[in-house]
């Protein structure tokens, strides 16, 4: 069933992979927090580009190359508008969000952080927003502090002011990929700035699902990945405030990021080229542009509204059907959560659960979801995670519930 906000029946038709049947059963893809499927318009844009317009960008004067450059830079402008950045060159294309976060930790971090400097993270961060900082702990002796969680999986902000006191950086996720929790980004950015710290937002799980406005947030940096928002793999985005990007040393060295290279040194190019060394993911950036158009066409407010409805339906359905046999981690209030659910079910190990659900083509991920510190705090080694996106609907929730029933049968309940 469709929600009031999106016509999912029609939407599903636009995703070729969701038409796939395995052993005669339709695919129920509930792993979009991991990576999303792609609408035909994105696939076709890439295919057409490869067939008719593929060419190098930036460096050649002929028309084909000029067209390709326009397509590439046009996608940058689309992304700029999508996240409401002030300038197009505040949008840097990376290979994924992980590279984007590493870029900040490496370039801004090594230029600005000394031994003893404090970086504040939260207990619900993805490894991509932990390990780059751990590397600076090892190399530079910076100090990490952690914002703890409340019992229902929200950030516990009661001690935030103390944690931020004297901190140089506050880097946090806008939405947890494990708990589904949406954090109060604008408030957190303000708190960071009040303490004189930089606000870095991991937008991986937020940008695909909600209206994003980096200026309203007041974010200094923000990272996200194309592949989670209906776009191709192989491209991520780093948003950075112009003044910060200007002042930072470059990250990767090579072609495109230089103004001049001599035998004895080099000077860097202007933004955004300065941070885009080498041949970029040309076709993939063009595909991301098509994904942004697709999402704008749906309206991100509608996407969010739809997911609120699906999340609410999932909470009600799974709780009423399985009661205490199911644990749904994270907040129960849909106004502070997305449609991503980590769950525990009747003591069945997540890996077994995922495998059994797969027999009815219900695809959920089992594992630590690249958030091992959070897993340890939750006291589990792994969870099964069902994550819903714009193409999922209440039928998919029902399919999940039915598949859970089937799992009980095998493991003998």
């Amino acid at each position: 069933m469709s929600s009031t906000a999106l016509d999912t029946a029609a939407l599903k038709q636009q995703f070729p992979l969701l038409q796939r049947e395995i052993n005669g059963t339709r695919l129920v893809y509930l792993d979009s927090a991991n990576t999303s499927q792609k609408p035909a318009v994105v696939i076709d844009t890439m295919t057409n580009f490869l067939r008719n317009s593929y060419a190098p960008i930036n460096r050649s004067a002929y028309q084909l190359a000029a067209e390709a450059t326009d397509a590439y830079e046009g996608a940058r402008t689309k992304v700029q508008q999508f996240i409401n950045a002030r300038r197009a060159h505040e949008v840097v294309f990376t290979k994924n969000a992980t590279e984007a976060l590493n870029l900040v930790a490496h370039s801004w971090g090594r230029a600005n952080l000394q031994a003893g400097d404090v970086v504040v993270l939260t207990h619900m961060e993805h490894h991509a927003n932990i390990v780059p900082w751990h590397m600076l702990v090892a190399e530079r002796g910076i100090v990490l502090r952690w914002v703890p969680l409340t019992a229902d999986g929200q950030l516990d902000l009661t001690t935030l002011a103390q944690l931020l006191d004297g901190a140089k950086v506050f880097s946090f996720t806008a939405m947890s990929n494990v708990l589904g929790t949406i954090t109060p980004v604008q408030q957190l950015c303000a708190a960071a700035h009040a303490a004189g710290a930089l606000a870095i937002v991991d937008g991986c799980q937020y940008v695909p699902h909600n209206v994003t406005d980096v200026q309203a947030w007041g974010a200094d940096f923000m990272a996200f990945s194309s592949h989670k928002m209906c776009g191709p793999s192989g491209v991520g985005v780093l948003y950075g405030r112009e003044a910060l990007l200007e002042a930072m040393p470059p990250f990767l060295g090579g072609g495109n990021m230089i103004a001049d290279v001599r035998l004895d040194g080099f000077t860097t190019a202007e933004l955004p080229a300065k941070f885009e060394a080498g041949t970029p993911p040309i076709t993939e950036v063009v595909g991301l542009g098509a994904a942004v158009d697709f999402l704008i066409g749906l309206g991100m407010a509608n996407v969010r509204q739809h997911e609120i409805e699906v999340a609410g339906y999932a909470l009600r359905t799974l709780t009423s059907r399985f009661g205490d046999d199911i644990t749904l981690h994270g907040p129960t209030d849909t106004s502070v959560r997305g449609a991503t659910f980590s769950l525990a079910f009747r003591g069945i190990h997540p890996h077994d659960l995922s495998q059994v659900l797969d027999q009815t083509n219900v695809c959920v991920r089992a594992g630590h979801h690249c958030a091992k510190p959070l897993m340890r705090l939750m006291g589990v080694a792994a969870t099964a995670r069902a994550s819903f996106y714009l193409y999922n609907d209440t039928d998919d929730v029902d399919a999940l519930a039915d598949a859970l029933d089937g799992a009980s049968a095998i493991f003998g309940f």
């Binding site: 190990h349 890996h351 495998q355 059994v356 027999q359 594992g367 897993m375 589990v380 792994a382």
Partner: protein, 148 residues
Amino acid sequence: MAGLEDLYREIILDHHRNPRNRGELPPPAPHAVGHNPLCGDEIEVYLQVEDGRVTDIKVGGQGCSISQSSASMMSQAIKGKPVADVQALVRRFKGMMSIPDADGNEIEPDPEVKLGDLEALQGVVKYPVRIKCAILGWNTLLEALEQV
């Protein structure tokens, strides 16, 4: 549910529910911990080796039905065996799991080495992601043996 019987054979589920040789051995017993970073599974193996023979083994850790039952069945199969026979069994088991040897070559099944109940795990091969679960205990065993 069609197809899964091959994976979740009754004997596997039994070892999963009632793991054998569960526990620890006090130091200085050879001891190793194995992780599967993909799913968070963890297995601990404690050995007692006397006169070239595994006289006792204990298994700890937590994980999915396949990793736990495989380790449990392994512990039964090797307890009391000479180390050389244990090595041969590991090789035979990895061969069944389609794991190549160190040089990347397929391991030919040695007809001398009997798998017994372990044959129940054969269905795992059809699920490549689970092979890592099935061999986790075995690799941990090898690590523990290196300390002997």
